[in-house]
């Protein structure tokens, strides 16, 4: 129980489950890797974003995969160009380290920013951003990796470095600090198209009262239904399955509706 839009019996709730297109970026290109390793160049990210918008995607998520490594935010121009003709929320992740970085991105047309590495190094940054721009703008990005003991650890630097933070504790702490949403990506399932790390999603979603976006592993409409209805995801991020043309946004939403899901 408890996910957004899942009313208990007799209650009306008209909130739609959000379908978010996740676009991983390297330099000028849309790329996709598997479990955060190896990558294929897929094309111009702006063109993909525009196409998804026109087909009816609910949000766009840009993840600059090399920004943290190069210690700079590199996709202002892409965000600026995208915001010209895409009238849905745009979230930007990758390399954001300060209130000033956030301000610059919002001025470029981003609506929300997602932070992983810098928040791990300096959790107070979450409070600073949420105070200045509102919690609705501060998304905590968690890259979760399952450990041999069965727990999940948050990784930083695009899934490369250990943080020694246990994922659920970190999520709960970030909520207290003012995060408004959690982008929860399974490093183990990313790009596999084999379904989500379901237990991870449920564990985090049930322990916070802010929305959780399930990311990493989407393969088909059954995965979507399962993670939303049984594992408490509030929104779903889809990458490979859209980029490689397994689904269009429209064909996916048609299938979701046919499964009885409340999508826009």
């Amino acid at each position: 129980m408890g996910r957004i839009g899942k009313a208990i019996k007799g209650e009306l709730n008209l909130s739609k489950i959000r379908l978010i297109a996740r676009l991983d970026i390297k330099g000028p290109n849309l790329i996709k890797s598997i479990r955060f390793e190896g990558l294929r160049v897929l094309g111009n990210p702006q063109e993909f974003a525009q196409k998804y918008y026109e087909e009816g995607i609910d949000e766009i998520l840009y993840v600059d995969t090399v920004a943290t490594l190069y210690e700079r935010v590199g996709i202002h121009e892409l965000v600026k160009k995208t915001a010209q003709n895409v009238f849905i929320p745009i979230t930007v992740a990758g390399g954001i380290r300060s209130v000033q970085d956030v301000d610059d991105l919002l001025r470029s047309g981003a609506d929300k920013i997602a932070i992983n590495t810098a928040a791990v190094k300096n959790p107070d940054l979450i409070s600073q951003i949420s105070k200045k721009f509102g919690s609705q703008c501060m998304v905590l990005s968690i890259e979760a990796c399952k450990q041999p003991d069965g727990r999940w650890e948050a990784y930083t630097d695009n899934g490369r470095e250990h943080s020694n933070l246990e994922v659920v504790e970190w999520a709960m702490k970030a909520e207290k600090l003012g995060a408004g949403e959690i982008l929860l990506t399974s490093v183990d399932f990313d790009g596999t198209l084999k379904g989500f790390d379901y237990d991870l999603i449920k564990l985090v979603s049930e322990n916070v009262s802010i929305p959780v976006i399930a990311s990493g592993g989407f393969g088909d409409e059954d995965d979507f239904k399962k993670v939303v209805e049984d594992y408490c995801a509030d929104a779903v991020a889809v990458g490979s399955a859209l980029h490689y043309g397994k689904f269009t946004v429209k064909s996916l939403k048609d299938k979701l509706r046919a499964k009885g899901l409340n999508v826009r």
Binding site: G2, L12, P89, I210
Partner: protein
């Protein structure tokens, strides 16, 4: 049909929020908006938009620091169209109970309250309310004809992101409502020339652009 590009639509810049999206949303309606914090330009606007995200008290402080509260009130008295978006809508009301009680612009009677995380029946809901939710006429609202919702269909979905909602004192000021956390709340507030949207029309795809278009060009 008049030349749209000559419509003097002013967007208030008081240091809060993503103005670029609102600007761009107005631009695709064929209008070149003026983005300003100058009291005279606000007073002389044909149509006025008050955007905003973040905390209520910060928003009111922003308006107060830039000495914009009186010019906004004067503008509204002229009967010209006014649109508040998200926090800009909430500030239309008398007061907010977000982190203590803060005074609003008082353009339409009512107050701003936090969305409860639990419904009366015990359902648990995530806060903020983030996402696409459908809107419908309020219980006692007038027809949408000749309002900013003229181009909107009942049950169209629009994009919300908020932790607080407005409760107008008079039910007829709720032009459209929306259901979340097991309760109906005001999605569009209206009294004569004054409008406010709790959702973001500039982020609500073609439905939202239709709302901005009517506000900028028809109202």
């Amino acid at each position: 049909m008049s030349d749209k590009s000559k419509n003097n639509v002013v967007i208030i810049d008081y240091g809060v929020g993503n103005l670029l999206s609102v600007m761009r949303g107005v631009e695709v309606c064929g209008v070149n908006p003026v983005v300003t914090n100058c009291p005279d330009e606000i007073l002389n606007a044909d149509r006025l938009i008050l955007p905003g995200v973040g905390a209520f008290s910060d928003g009111m402080r922003g308006l107060s620091d830039k000495k914009l509260i009186e010019p906004i009130k004067e503008f509204v008295k002229k009967g010209r169209p006014f649109l508040g978006i998200c926090l800009g809508m909430q500030m239309i009301l008398d007061e907010s109970h977000e982190f203590g009680t803060n005074k609003g612009l008082g353009l339409i009677p009512g107050k701003v309250l936090s969305i409860p995380g639990k419904s009366a029946e015990g359902g648990k809901f995530k806060i903020p309310h983030i996402g696409w939710t459908s809107i419908r006429p309020g219980n006692n609202s007038k027809d949408w004809q000749n309002t900013i919702l003229q181009n909107t269909k009942k049950e169209d979905s629009v994009y919300f992101v908020h932790s607080f909602y407005v409760l107008p004192k008079h039910e007829e000021n709720t032009l459209a409502s929306c259901n979340y956390a097991g309760k109906d709340f005001c999605a569009v507030i209206n009294n004569e020339n004054i409008y406010g949207c709790q959702f973001h029309p500039e982020k609500s795809g073609t439905v939202g652009i239709g709302i901005l278009d009517f506000f900028c060009n028809e109202l």
